[in-house]
C-alpha cells in the first residue's frame, strides 16, 4: 500500500503525459517565449523584448475587445444555463429512465454536424432577407439586423454550448439525492421553491462547471463572432488573426493569447472554488 506511483500506473498514464507535453505544455512555453521576440522586416527574431506586452496593454482597442469578449462569454454562459436548466430539470426529474436515455441520445445529435456548417446554416436564418425576417415581414415588422450583430454572435455561441451544458447539468441533476427533495416537500417546501432551495444547491458543482464550459467555449470562439457577429468590432480571437495577418506580429498575438489563457485559468479557478465551497465550519 505504498503511496509511490507504481510502474504500472506510470505506464498507463504515459500516453496522456506524452500528449500533454507535446501538444499543450511545450506549445504553451513556446507561446510565452515568442511573446518576448522581436519582428524585423516581417521576420521573427528571438529576443527578450517586453515591448509587445506594453504595446498591447496600453492600447484601448485591446481592452475594448477584452471587455466585449468577456461580456459576450459571460452572457452566453448565463443565457445558455438559464435556457438549459428547465430542460435538464424536466428530463432528470419528470421522465422515465427509458425516455431519459433516448433524449440524451437526441441531445448528442447536434455534435454530429460540424460547428462551421451549423453557423453557415444559421446565416440563412438570420440574414436581412432570411427566414426569420421574411416571416416577421409578413406581420409587417422588421427586418431586424439579426446577422452581423451581438444578437447573431450570441445565437451562434448558445447553439454551440447548449447541448453540452444540458448534458452536464443533466448528469449533475441525476445525482441529486431524491430523499432531499422529498424531505423539503415534507417540510412544507412546495415544488417550485424546492427547485431553488434544494435542487440547485445540491447540483451546484455540476451547474457551475456546465456554465464554466459555456464560458470557456464562448470566450475563445472565433466562428460565431466572425460569421454571425460580423467580426467588427473584433473579439479577442478575431484580434489575434488580425494581428498575425498585419505585419506578421506573432509576438503581439501571443500576448493576446496568453492573456486569454490567464483569464480562463482565473475564471476556472474561481468558479471551481465557488462550486465546492461548503457552508459552516
Amino acid at each position: 500500500m505504498s503511496k509511490r506511483p507504481s510502474l504500472f500506473s506510470l505506464v498507463l498514464s504515459l500516453p496522456l503525459l506524452i500528449w500533454q507535453l507535446a501538444f499543450f505544455l511545450f506549445p504553451l512555453l513556446f507561446l510565452v517565449a515568442i511573446s518576448f521576440w522581436t519582428v524585423r522586416n516581417f521576420q521573427m527574431q528571438p529576443d527578450f523584448n517586453t515591448g509587445n506586452w506594453v504595446r498591447i496593454f496600453t492600447r484601448s482597442a485591446f481592452w475594448d475587445a477584452y471587455l466585449r469578449t468577456f461580456c459576450l462569454a459571460a452572457a452566453s454562459a448565463a443565457i445558455t444555463s438559464a435556457i438549459a436548466f428547465p430542460a435538464s430539470y424536466a428530463i432528470s426529474f419528470k421522465l422515465s429512465e427509458r425516455a431519459r436515455r433516448w433524449l440524451i441520445f437526441v441531445l448528442i445529435i447536434p455534435f454530429f454536424t460540424s460547428y462551421l456548417v451549423r453557423v453557415y446554416s444559421l446565416q440563412v436564418f438570420l440574414s436581412d432577407a432570411g427566414i426569420i425576417n421574411a416571416l416577421l415581414g409578413k406581420f409587417g415588422i422588421g427586418p431586424f439586423p439579426l446577422l452581423n450583430s451581438t444578437f447573431g454572435t450570441l445565437v451562434g455561441m448558445i447553439t454551440l454550448c447548449l447541448p453540452l451544458v444540458i448534458l452536464l447539468q443533466l448528469f449533475s441533476l441525476n445525482f441529486v439525492n431524491r430523499d432531499l427533495v422529498e424531505a423539503a416537500h415534507n417540510l412544507r417546501c412546495a415544488r417550485f421553491r424546492t427547485v431553488f432551495l434544494v435542487i440547485v444547491p445540491s447540483a451546484k458543482v455540476g451547474l457551475v462547471i456546465a456554465a464554466l464550459f459555456a464560458f470557456i467555449l464562448s470566450f475563445g470562439d472565433f466562428v460565431s463572432p466572425l460569421y454571425l457577429g460580423g467580426g467588427n468590432p473584433p473579439t479577442l480571437s478575431i484580434m489575434i488573426t488580425d494581428i498575425t495577418k498585419s505585419g506578421q506580429q506573432w509576438p503581439r498575438a501571443a500576448v493576446v493569447a496568453l492573456t486569454m489563457i490567464g483569464t480562463l485559468l482565473t475564471v476556472a479557478f474561481l468558479s471551481i472554488r465557488f462550486a465546492y465551497r461548503e457552508r459552516g465550519e
Binding site: N177, E182, A183, H185, N186, L187, P201, E278, R279, G280
Partner: protein, 366 residues
C-alpha cells in the same frame, strides 16, 4: 366511516390499498393510531411498511381506501400541506446548509420570523444536546449527531405526529440502544404520536406501545409487544419473531382440562382453555417458546420427545441449543449456560425434551 373514528385516534387507515403497476404494495390495511401512541410497523423488506408510512406522510397517494389524519380525510393532499414530518432512513439532511439552517428550514417554510426561527431552532438543538454544533457543516457530524439534527429538524415545528422510517438502521449497536432511549423519552416528554417503521424486532418491541406486523402488504397482527410475543396470531408471526417452536397436530381426545394432540413427533397435551372453536379431529398449531422447553439427558417424559443436537449458539448469558426431532422438525431450546453444562450438547448426541402443557399457546389464526 369518519364518524366511527374515536376521538382518541389521530390516524385512521380504512381499507387502504396501494398498487405500483400490477403489484400490491399495500393490500387492504385497516388500523387506527391513538394520540400520543408510539406505534411500530414491522416486517421484512417489501412488506409494505414503508409504503404505509409514506402514504401517511403524503409522499404516496393510496390507490384505494381512505386515510384520515386528525379527523380529516387526506387522500390527495400534498405532503407540503400536511403536518406529518418524517425522519428518513438516509436522514436526508441538507448538506448545503449548516446544522442550524437545517433545523430552521421547516420554520422558514412556514414564514416564521427570523428572530423566532433562530430562537426555536437553537432551543431544539439544545434539547437534542447538539447546540455546540449549530454552525457546523453536516458532513462534520457523527452518525448519532446527524440523527439528533434530523429529529430536531422534524420536531421544531411542533407537529402532532412524527413519522420515522428506519432511522437507526445505519448506527452501530451501542449507539442504536442509546438513540432508542432518546426516542422513547422524547416521545413521552412531547406526548405526540410516533409512527416508527422498522425491520428490527428489538427496536420495535423495546420502544413501541403497539406493534403492527406486516407481510406482503397485509397486516398479520396488531398488539402490544407482550401480546404479540406471548400470543402470536398465526404461524407467520411466530416464525417472524423466531423465538418459539411450532407444532401442528390434530385434536384427538379431551381428558379433564387437557386436549391430546396427535402430531408427527408424538402425542402432546395442551390446556383445553387455549383451544377455542375447535372440535375433535380439527388441526391445531401451537407454539412453545424456546425458554419454556426443558431438557434432560435421556428418558421419556410426559409431553416429551427425543431430539438430536444440531448445534449451539451463545447469546449473552444464555445459549440456544438447536435440535431436530425424528420427523426432521427443527426446535430451539434457550437456557442459561449452567443448565446446559450437565448435558452432552455435542452435535449428534440425543437429548430428551419436554414442556409443561400449560406453557403452550395455540395460534388462533391457523
Amino acid at each position: 366511516m369518519n364518524d366511527q373514528m374515536t376521538t382518541n385516534s389521530i390516524v385512521k387507515l380504512d381499507s387502504v390499498v396501494k398498487k405500483f403497476g400490477d403489484i400490491f404494495a399495500v393490500e387492504r390495511v385497516d388500523f387506527e393510531i391513538g394520540r400520543g401512541e408510539f406505534l411500530a410497523i414491522m416486517g421484512s423488506s417489501g412488506c409494505g411498511k414503508t409504503t404505509t408510512l409514506r402514504m401517511l406522510a403524503g409522499l404516496e397517494d393510496p390507490t384505494d381506501g381512505d386515510i384520515y389524519l386528525d379527523g380529516e380525510r387526506v387522500n390527495g393532499k400534498a405532503t407540503w400541506d400536511r403536518d406529518t414530518p418524517m425522519v428518513w432512513q438516509s436522514l436526508a439532511l441538507f448538506p448545503f446548509l449548516t446544522v442550524q439552517e437545517n433545523v430552521e428550514f421547516g420554520l422558514k417554510m412556514r414564514g416564521v420570523s427570523k428572530v423566532e426561527r433562530i430562537e426555536r431552532a437553537r432551543r431544539w438543538l439544545e434539547k437534542m444536546q447538539i447546540l455546540e454544533f449549530a454552525n457546523r457543516n453536516i458532513s462534520q457530524l457523527s452518525g448519532g449527531q446527524k440523527q439528533r439534527v434530523a429529529l430536531a429538524r422534524a420536531l421544531v415545528t411542533e407537529p402532532k405526529i412524527l413519522l420515522l422510517d428506519e432511522p437507526l438502521s445505519a448506527l452501530d449497536a451501542h449507539l442504536k440502544v442509546r438513540m432508542q432511549s432518546v426516542l422513547s423519552s422524547l416521545q413521552k416528554d412531547l406526548g405526540i404520536t410516533f409512527v416508527y417503521v422498522t425491520h428490527s424486532m428489538s427496536e420495535a418491541f423495546s420502544m413501541a406501545d403497539r406493534v403492527v406486523i406486516m407481510s406482503r402488504g397485509k397486516i398479520e397482527q396488531i398488539g402490544t409487544p407482550q401480546e404479540i410475543y406471548r400470543e402470536p396470531r398465526n404461524r407467520f408471526v411466530a416464525e417472524f419473531l423466531g423465538s418459539a417452536n411450532i407444532f401442528t397436530g390434530a385434536l384427538s381426545r379431551k381428558t379433564g382440562v387437557y386436549w391430546t394432540i396427535e402430531a408427527p413427533d408424538g402425542s402432546f397435551e395442551i390446556n383445553a382453555g387455549k383451544v377455542t372453536n375447535k372440535n375433535e379431529g380439527d388441526s391445531v398449531t401451537f407454539i412453545v417458546s424456546a425458554e419454556n422447553m426443558n431438557v434432560r439427558p435421556t428418558g421419556s417424559q410426559p409431553n416429551g420427545i427425543t431430539v438430536t443436537v444440531v448445534g449451539e449458539e451463545f447469546v449473552g448469558a444464555t445459549a440456544i441449543l438447536f435440535v431436530e426431532t425424528e420427523s426432521g422438525a427443527e426446535l430451539k431450546i434457550q437456557k442459561s449456560h449452567d443448565e446446559f453444562s450437565s448435558l452432552d450438547t455435542r452435535p449428534g448426541s440425543k437429548l430428551a425434551v419436554h414442556w409443561d402443557p400449560d406453557h403452550c399457546h395455540v395460534l388462533p389464526g391457523e
